[in-house]
Symmetry: C2
Subunit: 243 residues, 2 copies
């Protein structure tokens, strides 16, 4: 039986979503829990995508196959009782055996939260404490340049080697909430560091280090990727996966 | 020169505000920072009051005397550069030598936040994850019984030995925000565990374990203090100190 789960996690104490040797990561916590539920059989969990170290998830998705007979309610309870307190499964459903949590993603929503006001120790792991003012109007104009189908190579991690860096962004926004800026990106998918690099570039536009038209220039001119700044991970949230 | 500082802290990794041997606490962090600023002289910090292990502060206050000549701006910067990331001083002012951060408190505001909805791993250290529904209307009636001048002995920690347990509560409220309940108490001062015990008792009223009239009974009948429940510390915030 194939199951789709939706879960949230606090990325602060994880070395990212993806399994890595001798690191605390979300994927291994899920697989450890399922090993116990699925009659001590190793159980592969296929996530909708990776998140980096320190990045949070409000709604991440994954699928897995288990052979034990268990109700959805009991599976949810069993998972949450075996998972650590910084991961929580909030929805469990059965899906067709052809369902695939990564290949069938239609869109993903990411959010980045940045504080332009006084440093807040209570939010230091959940909101990037930039603590300076930014020209939000300029950033709101510039962010629109990310919308559409683009080759995002110059906004991806320099280490990323892919056949294809083309992605589509459907929707972007910057909302202001007191001294906080909330950036939202909806797209087909995002390359490693892409959201953090897009926000970092917007911050450099907002503080005057880059011009409001620089995004189009960076898309078309590889030598300009050096201007792209990777902003810290703690303000980044995977908000939803849409199938 | 006497200074009054206002500061916030994330109580998660502190063993409370007050200095204790071989424990991480807020008071010692402040005194360590001031030792360096004040020419390596031991500098006593007098806080407006204590908070327990795990309790947060949005605005705590303290006074201290230092002999070095330093501007308010530089003192704030020096403190924040020497303090750990979970404490932040957001205001510094000079005060009269007769000012006392504890004796001159007119009122304190405490807030408790409780989640009745799905467990949220991202807020586990900042909002108590109760995750069941409560009869809020009953709690809103009952909480009014805390308003006024009362002997709060039966709502204080059983270990607390004081000459006087009489305190005045000026104002109380319960606000609903999605699935969260936000309890606010404004009063002259609060005994150890008093806010957690008042909220714990309200939760037992909301879940039907205690009657809506039990608060008056507990005030007047010592044998009933066994019904008082101390709720977890992670949802509790010292919100403000008024002089």
């Amino acid at each position: 039986m194939r199951y789709l789960i939706k879960f949230s996690y606090d990325g602060t104490n994880f070395n990212g979503y993806q399994k890595q040797p001798s690191c605390r990561c979300v994927e291994s916590e899920l697989e450890n829990a399922l090993y116990h539920i699925n009659d001590h059989k190793p159980t592969k969990v296929v996530g909708a995508g990776r998140t980096d170290r320190g990045v949070h998830a409000i709604c991440q998705s994954a699928h897995f196959d288990i052979t034990v007979d268990i109700s959805l309610y009991k599976l949810k309870c069993a998972l949450n009782s075996l998972l650590p307190p910084d991961i929580h499964v909030f929805a469990v459903q059965t899906v067709d055996a052809s369902f695939h949590a990564r290949y069938m993603v239609k869109s993903k929503i990411y959010r980045y939260i940045l504080n332009c006001g006084e440093y807040n120790p209570l939010e230091r792991n959940y909101v990037y404490q930039y603590c300076r003012s930014l020209d939000v109007e300029k950033m709101k104009i510039a962010i629109q340049d990310f919308v559409g189908i683009h080759d995002f190579k110059n906004f991806a991690s320099a280490e990323t080697v892919k056949d294809n860096y083309v992605r589509e962004i459907f929707n972007v926004s910057i909302e202001e909430d007191d001294n906080k800026l909330i950036f939202t990106f909806v797209g087909t998918g995002f390359l490693k560091y892409q959201v953090r690099n897009m926000v970092g570039t917007l911050v450099k536009i907002g503080n005057g280090k880059l011009g409001v038209d620089c995004i189009q220039k960076i898309f078309s001119e590889d030598s300009l990727r050096k201007h792209v700044m990777t902003i810290k991970s703690e303000g980044l949230y995977l908000v939803d996966i849409q199938y």
